[in-house]
Symmetry: C2
Subunit: 204 residues, 2 copies
């Protein structure tokens, strides 16, 4: 009955974090009970509270891992990819964001819930994690806009605002996909096309 070393070589603590990520994402913070988490992981409730002093701290640990995962993925992508123009860079980043949204579905779902934002109101650590994620994402788009304006592929406009608009568009696509409201694949081409028209320099 005892199951000390969980399968796959990962530690019990790590197993709890992974299971919690899925549960928090799929059911939300309030609707995830420690009893259920205990059942899923095979760890006793006491064990969970041995590793995390309370439910909120567990949530914060989950969010921190999500932050690290997302930032690592994006930095990895930027390092191993070269772009011909700022517009190219933005399109590449958009595509990568959409792919990542599919590959890391439950981590993105967690970010689309209200739990983290509510906690961020009272918890500075939580706010820091969220800011770090969005800063990373917005910076990439913003940088692309600035580059594109230098190389002439993108029209003059406030770079941060453009980044926010682009971000809201790809994020909506990821949302549509996770909620099965509309097949992301079906909207992808129109979205990229619209975004290019929105940004590119007009020939006078």
């Amino acid at each position: 009955m005892r199951n000390r070393r969980p399968q796959g070589g990962i530690s019990r603590k790590e197993a709890i974090i992974r299971a919690a990520t899925i549960l928090f994402a799929e059911k939300g913070f309030k609707d995830t009970s420690m009893a259920e988490l205990s059942k899923v992981t095979g760890a006793a409730e006491g064990t969970i509270f041995y590793h995390f002093k309370n439910k909120e701290e567990l949530f914060l640990t989950v969010l921190e891992k999500v932050k690290e995962d997302i930032i690592r993925e994006f930095h990895g992508y930027l390092e191993e990819t070269r772009f011909d123009s700022g517009l190219d860079m933005i399109e590449g980043a958009m595509t990568f964001y959409i792919q990542l949204g599919a590959a890391m579905e439950n981590r993105f779902l967690l970010l689309h819930r209200h739990d983290a934002y509510e906690l961020a109101k009272s918890n500075p650590t939580c706010r820091k994690h969220l800011e770090a994620i969005y800063d990373c994402l917005l910076e990439i788009f913003e940088h692309g806009v600035v580059l594109g304006q230098r190389d002439g592929s993108i029209r003059e406009m406030a770079a941060r605002k453009a980044a926010l608009i682009i971000f809201s568009m790809v994020d909506a696509l990821v949302r549509f996909d996770t909620y099965n409201l509309y097949e992301a694949a079906g909207l992808y081409r129109e979205l990229m096309d619209s975004c290019r028209r929105m940004l590119e320099q007009r020939k006078l």
Copy 2:
């Protein structure tokens, strides 16, 4: 101590619905307790369950009112406004959506939470309300695109997809505003400008 007829001439049931709308929007379904709702309205807990058979039915009643409010507002707007072109209609509808998002902040916040979508999975009535709201909104944008394509102000593209993209853009702005992530006013011009460029016919 007794407070039978609540102030303002509205019935006790109506007062409960209004208070519940605010609480569900601001704190979410789970984090709103009947005890708190009882305190806020001045009605005993038993009274709430006299009017609504359970918490879920109260939530559904709230959502139904929200649906009616939003649809009424949009139909009213469309009836009393004339447009010069399809593109004009879309821009008008976008502006109206953004204004409505500010004027009916907590009703929109309710729609941006997960509660209704989670309930919709198991409750067909809930699903119907949500579908009615989004059908109403998307139809307006879609109709604008079709009109614009006929009058030559909008380029050829799948109308439903264009409507989804436009909707996701204005909805993001309303979200930025309610969460105080970015002042909606500061993004408004760029958003409308970008959207026009995205949609309009290109001179060859």
